[in-house]
Amino acid sequence: MKNWLKKNGKNFATYAVVIIAFIVMQVLSNAGVLTRSVKGYLIPICVYIVLAVSLNLVVGISGELSLGHAGFMGVGAFTGVVIAACLKGVIDNDILRLLLAMAGGGVVAGVAGVLIGIPVLRLRGDYLAIVTLAFGEILKNIIGNLYIGKDALGLHFAFKAENLHLAEGGKKILEGPMGAAGEKLATFGVGFALILFTLFVVLNMVNSKEGRAIKAIRDNRIAAESVGINVTAFKMKAFVTAAVLAGMAGALYGLNFASVSATKFDFNTSIDILVFVVLGGMGNILGSVIAAAVLYVLPEAMRSLYDYRMILYAIVLIVVMLMTWSPKFKQMVQIVTAWIKDSVRKLFKKSGKEVGLNEER
């Protein structure tokens, strides 16, 4: 029992934190404490938590720097919007439609993940980073020039507006650089369910044979290969799982706004997600959850500072990185804490003698 708890305690803590946060938010929301704008952040926060956790699977657990995660999010978002628009009128239940759209977004993003993973995962280190960046930009570029319309005959695809040839009464779903006209189907409950699903998938994967193999590859590729681990296959599993989850999150994101455009899913968004992962701690799933939530809210919370908020965000980012990583800073912290401990102990010793508590050294 003790061993079991030791092994799984951290996972339970992760689930517990997420569930408690959800309940607190629900209660606050029902009590009417939350303003409209705060409620508006809830679903994007869910989306970014899922993105951060899934990217952590690639960057933290698998040890591959991926700079194109937003590309998968974009693929999922646009697939989700198209599926939701197609099923409109076929399925009346909005939640079911949303779930189907998310599943579709996940599948298509997963397929993109397989196609990209085959060439990418053969490369190493910074080259892998630049190729994932390149793929993210390619995905963005293609989505940004894709036109999809729907009419009585079915779906029409084109890369130019005039080639769409829609029949009478047809409707454009995706309009190239103008983006897609989505619907607001997303709910906080579904977002929360998606987080739980993501945690379930990722935590189970990490604590399984797959996870151990992936971590072995991360720590020493050659040694892992020599004990018979198929390096490419296991890296691929992590990469595609992350892509599927990012696609689902993307679909949720796309169906949360009245319109989405491809420029949202660019390099900067990928970088933002990476920042969540690194600040939360690489390989630390709970860390990703907290970092994504806090860092998403931080610039919004600093809105009263107007122009200074992004510069403050940048400074916070640099200072946190220096504080967590700089050896000198760590040394300084150690010296200061040792000094405080020492002086506290001395203080206690002095007063302790009188009371007779000086066994403690």
Partner: protein, 313 residues
């Protein structure tokens, strides 16, 4: 040959000549923007080769350089050459400052941590620029005052910017090659890039060498900023970020860490970009550029001129 045949032949020749000329014009434009990428990529490659870090703030140093030069010519009314020098001085100091404050404390920690810090610096520079100069784009007047050269009766125009950019990039490449090959500090740089610990044991001041590299890289960024804005005249706080990414791609393309590689990668990237805009689909030029990069990396994983390093257990 009848007269109609002859005139058809003449027309045919003229058409061919026009296609050839427009091809040459595209090539020149491509080389021009490619030369700007090459200068940025040279800075990236220097820093990467020696500090082994992706300096994502490099693109924003370019933007700062362009703004400094803009201010010196517009507000102080000084000649363009002074503005370039001023931009170089400011960017060099900025580079040393950034390196000392943000990167030096993180020496020896995992490269991803340094990467995130670099992203923080990049955000900082962009937002600081927005506070100082505002987010509205400024029209950057070209610093080059050379008359355009016209060939084939004006069918091919080589502007002054093109000449200056190409000449500058070649000069910089040659100078950097000589610098790293012949001078003492250049040799120290190569030693540090090959094996930092061994270099330190040989009495090389690693910290100072890395700072010098950042200084040189930032001075190059200033020149690149001026030339970039002379070619594409809108100047905004985000001006540097996309060319920065492109140039980073160019550096990887040519083999990161290699000076001629950065030059070759930059020029090729510029030419591919212009050609895909002129002959293929202009809206997919981004996708085409990155697709070529991926294909090259699949065939030659270390880039065109990069060295393949064998891993040892």
């Amino acid at each position: 040959m009848t007269e109609t045949d002859l005139s058809a032949f003449v027309i045919d020749c003229q058409e061919r000549e026009e296609t050839v000329l427009s091809f040459i014009q595209s090539l020149i434009n491509g080389i021009s923007i490619g030369a700007v990428y090459a200068i940025i990529a040279l800075g990236y490659t220097m820093v990467y080769g020696i500090a082994k870090m992706l300096n994502f703030a490099h693109g924003d140093v370019i933007m700062v350089g362009a703004y400094i030069s803009f201010c010196v010519t517009q507000y102080l009314g000084l000649p363009p050459i002074v503005s370039v020098l001023a931009a170089m001085v400011v960017c060099t100091l900025l580079g040393i400052l950034i390196e000392g404050l943000a990167y030096k404390p993180l020496r020896g920690v995992p490269s991803l941590a340094v990467l995130i810090t670099a992203i923080g610096v990049s955000y900082f520079l962009q937002n600081a620029a927005q506070l100082i100069w505002g987010s509205a784009p400024k029209i950057y007047p070209s610093v080059v005052a050379i008359e355009p050269v016209q060939l084939f009766g004006g069918q091919i125009v080589i502007t002054g910017q093109v000449i200056v950019t190409v000449v500058a990039s070649v000069l910089i490449m040659v100078a950097l090659t000589l610098f790293t090959g012949k001078t003492k500090i250049g040799k120290a740089m190569r030693a540090v890039s090959e094996d930092r610990d061994a270099a330190q044991l040989m009495g090389i001041n690693v910290n100072r060498t890395i700072s010098t590299t950042f200084a040189i890289g930032s001075a190059l960024a200033a020149i690149a900023g001026v030339l970039l804005c002379s070619t594409v005249p809108t100047l905004m706080p985000t001006t540097g970020s996309m060319p920065g990414i492109r140039a980073f791609t160019a550096a990887v393309f040519g083999g990161i860490g290699s000076i001629p590689g950065a030059m070759l990668g930059g020029i090729l990237l510029g030419v591919i970009e212009t050609f895909s805009k002129a002959y293929l689909a202009s809206e997919f030029s981004d996708a085409i550029v990155f697709l070529v990069l991926i294909l090259v990396l699949l065939v030659k994983p270390a880039g065109l001129l990069g060295k393949q390093v064998q891993e040892k257990v």
